[in-house]
Amino acid sequence: MIISLLLALSRQISLNHRWILVAMVIGILGSWLLAYYAYAIAEALEGVGQELLNATLYSAVILSAILLSLHVIPLSMSASKRAFSERRPNFFQPALYSMLVITVSCSVAREGSEIWIYVSGFLYDPGALQSAMIGGAIGAGIGMSLGAIAYYLFVFMPKKIFLPFFLVTVTLVVGGLSMQVAKQFMQIGWLESAAPMWDSSFLVSEQSWLGELLYALLGYDASPSMTQGAFYLAAIMPTISGVLWHVLHRRENNND
């Protein structure tokens, strides 16, 4: 989903697609390293290495996604094509590509390492390996198909609709990831796991298919704690303030 969205973004703002290759290579290599050293990582730093690494990867994704959003805000605000190209000076390009690469490679490394570990678990059970491979192929097929369909949907969206949609989606994803960061810190006891703010499991249970889909897309948590809420707000604030600043700024300009 995030890869389709970023690929569509780079198509919509006329960037070269080559960054995805770099990001995928880094991501896959990274995921393999993480899986290979999983035991050492888990043991490191008095047993909190895995959580800290997860939190770091999530944070890197969050930061680069926020920077990307801040870059996209002025583009989505300017209606005319001229302003669109004017607002993208050349020196921005390397930074833009780095943000895209960081977002995708960290996400792929994080999720990919779990796949490696899952697959390696079946290597010692040839009977189960076959069905696991089929299950994996079906899962990958569904994932890639959804990704491809989403990509073309995003690409064919008019820019005026796509860019705000991108901002909203990325902000929600960033919020969801920030809750994961908070969860990691609470697991290792660095943060107090206060009482949950609410419990929406009666509405959408985390175990239901909708709950799982929402978790995969937006990091849905049925009973988030106060700390998680604070992290969520902190993560979505930069984008929201960016949007507000630009709206006010434009109104002032119009008044002048």
């Binding site: 089929i134 079906i138 097929g141 569904i142 491809a148 369909i149 073309y152």
Partner: protein
């Protein structure tokens, strides 16, 4: 969208994969439930079987004082059914070999799960038909799951394996479907720049008819515009001829009336002469243009033609005290005589123009197998190697207007030569002169083998030539 084919292959394959795999997952889950039901049913049938066989043995077993152990029989990779037979007091009467000698679960009728012997087991606990004893049927969960899965996956395999095949088929089918587009593109690409004929619309799919019609419309407008542009230069040059001729006469009269003539009047005469030359060159260029050429190709004696042309230029050669040498074989080519005259005239005029007073010019015609080579060589300033290709461009002059030939020129001479060379399927080459400096122009034609009639014509022209000032094949003008 960079490629329609790629877009369609990816989206169609994604939709087929999604539909197929979601159906597979749905089918898998449904089938697993069904298989569970089937296994439960099997347990109940087994209970019926035990009801037929075991109660008759009850008295016999009670006298034995020990538990009857029945041998285990199970298929490889299959899920074997185990059982325990218990009386109403909880006393174990018989069991299959894989079951423990103690009760695995309390006697509560129905299906349940229990863990023993390091596995998770499905249990069916039920009283016997005569209500005097109990049966506990047990089946290993992992065996049951694996058996069910191995049956169901047989149906899922083909779906997964079919996806790459479907992808290839979609790719090929789209390739066939999009062939008219690539054919249209190929037809447009292979066209000559001057070919502006309408595209063929027969057998064109309806999706492309509109595109073809728009393209044909554009081609028609382009063709009309090109024709207008072509006619314009020829018409303009033609229309300019009369006023320039009048100007020339008035200018000559003016000079006659003035004694001594004014410097401005002399400059005026030079300007009019230059304009006259330019107009003539433009008309010549137009006449030798491939799409306007009206000439008649016939066997022509090139050697003869060249000798006559040299004779015609004798006045110009004498004026500059230049020395000309002619040597060569008797060469025939298939060509248009006036066009060939224009070609040689321009080459020789250039040589005379750009060679200094007392300079040397050499003209040769050589028969080289099936080729005829015409060489015009001088010891003038020559053309730098980097500019030799460009001199064939219209209005291009070496060193711009800074050259000091003092002769009228407009940069069309070699363009005309190139056009005549192309018309005759010949090739032209500019190289270093064999003199100490200067230019060598080599034009290579396909040779023509003359017939007896051509030879008679040649003798007739020989008679005419004998009366001309050029007396020998290797003659010299001083």
């Amino acid at each position: 969208m960079k490629s329609i084919r790629r877009f369609l292959v990816i989206t169609l394959l994604a939709i087929v994969t999604l539909a197929n795999f979601i159906a597979a997952v749905r089918g898998y889950l449904g089938s697993m439930d069904e298989a569970g039901q089937l296994f439960n049913q099997r347990m109940m049938q087994q209970v019926d079987l035990l009801n037929y066989t075991l109660p008759g043995l009850l008295e016999q077993i009670r006298t034995r004082q020990d538990v009857l152990l029945l041998p285990e029989r199970s298929m490889d990779n299959g899920a074997s059914l185990e059982f325990q037979w218990i009386d109403n007091d909880g006393q174990l009467l018989a069991r299959s070999a894989a079951m423990p000698p103690t009760l695995v679960a309390p006697l509560e009728p129905g299906f349940s799960f229990v863990n023993f012997d390091q596995y998770r087991w499905h249990l069916l606990i039920t009283p016997s038909a005569d209500k005097k004893t109990w049966f506990i049927l047990a089946e290993r969960d992992d065996q049951r799951y694996r058996l069910a899965e191995s049956m169901i996956l047989q149906a899922v395999y083909p779906m997964v394996l079919a996806i790459p095949l479907i992808g290839v088929i979609i790719w090929l089918v789209l390739g066939i479907g999009l062939k008219p587009v690539s054919r249209l593109a190929e037809e447009l690409r292979q066209r000559e720049a001057t070919d502006l004929h309408a595209l063929e619309q027969r057998d064109m799919p309806i999706e492309l008819v509109q595109l073809t019609q728009s393209t044909n419309d554009l081609l028609r407008r382009l063709s009309a515009s090109f024709a207008r542009e072509k006619r314009f230069s020829a018409d303009a040059a033609h229309e300019l001829r009369t006023p320039i001729a009048a100007l020339k006469i008035h200018c000559d009269n003016l000079l006659l009336e003035q004694n001594p003539p004014l410097a401005s009047a002399l400059k005026l005469q030079a300007g009019v002469q230059r304009m006259h030359y330019l107009v003539e060159q433009i008309l010549l260029l137009n006449r030798t243009a491939p799409d306007h050429f009206m000439g008649k190709f016939e066997p022509t004696n090139l050697t003869c033609l060249i000798k006559e042309m040299i004779a015609e230029h004798s006045e110009m050669l004498e004026a500059k005290h230049q020395q000309i040498e002619f040597e060569g074989d008797d060469c025939w080519v298939m060509g248009d005589r006036p066009a060939l005259e224009t070609l040689f005239n321009n080459l020789l005029s250039n040589a005379i123009k750009y060679t200094l007073t007392h300079g040397r010019i050499a003209v040769n015609t050589w028969q080289r197998g099936s080729k005829v080579v015409l060489e015009v060589m001088d010891n003038g300033p020559g053309i730098p190697e980097g500019q030799r290709e460009r001199v064939f461009d219209r209005f291009y002059r070496v060193d711009g207007d800074r050259h000091n030939s003092q002769t009228p020129g407009c940069g069309l001479g070699l363009s005309i030569v190139k056009q005549v060379v192309d018309l005759h399927g010949a090739c032209i080459q500019l190289t270093q002169s064999r003199f100490e400096r200067g230019l060598l122009v080599m034009v290579t034609f396909a040779a023509y083998v003359p017939s007896a009639q051509d030879m008679r014509n040649r003798q007739a022209s020989q008679y005419v030539r004998d009366k001309s000032p050029l007396e020998d094949e290797a003659s010299t003008h001083e």
